[in-house]
């Protein structure tokens, strides 16, 4: 259990704002409102892509000492998320983890685990438990 009194936050990063928003909507409707949740997607011109700045803003909007689990889709979403986390600096960056899990299923699983007050490690492990399937 987290000892900060707050639930681990979830950030969804997709190349498509519609995928990111739709995933966030599924989390809200299926899991509920007790988990801090943010999403971002698309580049500044409205096309497909991800932005380090948008990812940083999303992470900051839900960050607490309990930590943040990040769900990503393809290549650039992951590398830009890694960059955004790196820029956070120590020790904050150590409380933000990218999950090796499918974005939609991983977000729902992670949020379900987080809603019960689980630690960041437990939340990430739950999302990643999906991967071998």
């Amino acid at each position: 259990m987290s000892d900060t009194g707050q639930n681990v936050g979830i950030v969804i990063v997709s190349h498509s704002p519609m995928v990111a928003e739709g995933t966030a909507q599924m989390v809200r409707q299926m899991v509920g409102g007790e988990v801090p949740l943010a999403w971002c997607g698309g580049d500044l011109d409205g096309g497909l892509g991800t932005s380090v700045e948008a990812i940083s803003n999303a992470i900051n909007s839900v960050w607490s000492e309990a930590g943040v689990a990040v769900l990503v889709d393809l290549g650039g979403a992951e590398t830009n998320s890694e960059m955004a986390i790196e820029f956070m600096g120590a020790p904050k960056r150590d409380t933000i983890v990218i999950c090796n899990a499918p974005i939609v299923e991983g977000a729902v699983m992670a949020a379900t685990e987080a809603s019960g007050g689980a630690s960041l490690g437990e939340v990430v492990a739950t999302a990643q438990e999906l991967s071998p399937l």
Partner: protein, 107 residues
């Protein structure tokens, strides 16, 4: 303290995505160890694991065994029994979007 109950899943799409989330979230509100098994397989799985509960893919008509061991075991079993009995509180109102998808896929 140990408690156990059996109940048949009557929700028409079974222990699907949203019902699994509700079941797991409710289980997590209790400190005791809670496990479930289906159709007398004697394979008990952690009721607080969303991945394992959803992974059971238990359809309507499944005989669900729920057992709890520890603090408030009776209350935990009664609460989960009630949730399954009430069709996960989805008996009334519009069909949620994820179930429409599930129905379409099973058709």
């Amino acid at each position: 303290m140990v408690a156990q109950t059996d109940i048949v899943i009557t929700h028409r799409v079974g222990l699907h995505a949203r019902p699994s989330v509700k079941f797991t979230k409710l289980a997590k509100t209790f400190d005791c160890k809670i496990e479930v098994s289906v159709n007398d397989t004697d394979k008990w799985i952690d009721a607080k694991s969303i991945v394992k509960i959803m992974g059971m893919k238990a359809p309507a008509g499944t005989q669900l065994h729920i057992r709890a061991d520890g603090a408030a075991a009776d209350e935990a079993v009664a609460a989960l029994h009630g949730l399954v009995e009430r069709d996960f509180d989805e008996r009334q109102g519009a069909v949620p979007a994820d179930e429409k998808i599930a129905d379409a896929n099973s058709a």
